[in-house]
């Protein structure tokens, strides 16, 4: 008789379904979490972070609210409109998230911004508070990355979300966090060298680093803090499923490709 196969085993710390309960990150969901957790705390637990308290949850709520800007013409949300044009909300959500998973625009950009400032802070180390060291470190960074993530505001001189974010961070007493401060101190140096103003992704990344989250974990927040914009556009888009997004009228397309021509086989009259 053949020996039974030894299945490969993967360790997970995420969850297990028991006979009458679910365990999640070390907790019994029904007995220990229901009635005690905010949605943000669940997310933090989901990504290996700690349970977070109501003050921090309110901060994240405020942060998510400051990032609401669902104009359908903004590129990531336009993708949501296009992908939901055939009537399915889920595709309107999933498509843009997949397409932007490496982009410099949209939710996934937050992780690359967080990595930029995390690396900058680590490089400075004990000299984090030294302005001269900061200037030299930023200049070195800009030699490697002339257009750093978290800087630049398409079609406008500054990111209109920055002031509300700085105000709410101050209201929550977190304006002196080392990374949030670093972002604001680095911003004028980057602007002087590149003419690129700091954008909201830098401020959000700095705050999330100060909250103890890693760049990989901040990747998750990038999506969740901005998701209401995608939900709004994918939901309305899927309900309306407008014909004009399924197919733009021909007069709005301008062909700029190769001129009409025959294939070599058509020229010679040979069969495929």
């Amino acid at each position: 008789m053949a020996e039974p196969l030894k299945r490969p085993v993967l360790v997970t710390r995420v969850g297990h379904v028991g006979p009458d309960h679910h365990r999640f990150r070390g907790f019994d969901v029904g007995a220990e979490l229901v009635g005690h957790e905010s949605y943000w705390s669940l997310i933090s637990l989901a990504i290996g972070g700690p349970r977070i308290d109501s003050e921090l949850s309110r901060l994240l709520d405020d942060l998510a609210t400051s990032l609401v800007g669902p104009d359908p013409r903004i590129w990531p949300w336009k993708l949501g409109r296009l992908m939901s044009a055939y009537g399915r909300f889920s595709v309107g959500m999933a498509g843009p998230l997949i397409m932007m998973s490496s982009g410099r625009v949209g939710p996934a950009a937050l992780a690359s911004v967080a990595r930029f400032f995390d690396e900058l802070a680590r490089e400075l180390g004990a000299e984090l508070a030294d302005e001269g060291a900061l200037t030299r470190a930023v200049e070195r960074k800009l030699e490697q990355v002339p257009r750093p993530p978290g800087f630049g505001t398409p079609f406008r001189n500054q990111d209109e979300r920055n002031a509300p974010i700085i105000a709410l961070v101050r209201a929550h007493g977190r304006e002196n966090g080392p990374h949030f401060s670093l972002v604001q101190r680095a911003a004028p140096i980057v602007f002087q060298k590149t003419r690129l103003p700091v954008n909201a992704a830098s401020l959000v990344s700095g705050l999330c680093l100060d909250l103890g989250f890693s760049p990989e974990q901040i990747d998750v927040f990038g999506i969740l803090l901005l998701v209401s914009n995608l939900v709004a556009n994918s939901f309305e888009g899927s309900r309306e499923a407008p014909a004009v997004l399924k197919r733009l009228p021909a007069e709005f397309v301008r062909y700029v490709g190769h001129a009409a021509r025959k294939s070599p086989r058509a020229e010679s009259g040979t069969a495929p």
């Binding site: 365990r23 296009l82 992908m83 595709v91 397409m99 410099r104």
Partner: protein, 239 residues
């Protein structure tokens, strides 16, 4: 932030733990090999030598290596279905993703997802046709017919291309719209259910859609008509 609890081991077995599950994942089409096989056919020593990629695709979708006429008809149908214009959502979305810096994987995934959605809608609009093709009797559904000259000319070109195959497709004996005619061809070569017809429609559109997207210059933001279509914001409850 509050402290995390120490990890506690799971001891109580749940429904997934106690059920007797198969110990292996079933492979129903591709045998890894060597040599790799699709539905039993040696890919490297047989299919690659005697069949085109389109015919291998048809083999994968139907389970049987096609006879020459059907294989060629399938290729012709895919060719007719290949040009999905950028005005349609899949190409528009893939190009926009490329514009804002999506990598190839993101562009390919998005294009495939958009084409699958498009295929789903197109096939759902032809449910009556597929039922008629399955039944094989009676007149073609009126919804598949047209007097439009552009459509008629395109179908005439389809008939001319298919003439060499020797294969016959009943719908072409009427005055079908082009897409209906092409679905008729797909059904005739063995793609007899909606999922397989959708698969062929999505596959056919993928190369040109990707080419269109990869032709977009990343970050050339001013090349894109941001206000097309124009969105006009109004306030108040949903209609």
């Amino acid at each position: 932030m509050t402290e995390r609890p120490s990890d506690s081991p799971v001891r109580r077995a749940g429904p997934i733990d106690v059920e007797l599950w198969p110990s292996t994942l079933a492979a129903r089409v591709v045998e890894a090999g060597p040599p790799p096989r699709i539905h039993g056919y040696d890919v490297e020593g047989d299919l690659a030598r005697h069949y085109s990629f389109a015919e291998i695709t048809l083999t994968a979708l139907t389970g049987v290596a096609p006879e020459r006429g059907h294989g060629r008809a399938f290729e012709i149908a895919l060719a007719f279905l290949a040009p999905v214009p950028v005005s349609e959502a899949p190409g528009h979305a893939a190009g926009l993703a490329r514009l804002i810096g999506a990598d190839a994987s993101g562009v390919i995934s998005g294009a495939a997802m958009g084409l699958a959605e498009r295929a789903r809608e197109l096939v759902s609009e032809h449910t009556e046709l597929v039922a008629w093709l399955d039944a094989g009797t009676g007149s073609a559904p009126p919804s598949t017919q047209t007097d439009d000259s552009n459509e008629a000319n395109a179908v005439a070109r389809l008939r001319a291309a298919l003439a060499e195959t020797g294969a016959s497709f009943p719908l072409l004996n009427s005055r079908p719209k082009l897409l209906a005619a092409l679905i008729g061809v797909l059904h005739g070569v063995g793609l007899t259910d909606a999922p397989r017809i959708e698969a062929a429609l999505a596959l056919a559109g993928l190369p040109a859609t990707l080419a269109e997207a990869f032709a977009v210059k990343p970050f050339a933001f001013f090349s894109y008509p941001m206000d097309l279509p124009a969105f006009r914001y109004i306030e108040g409850a949903d209609g």
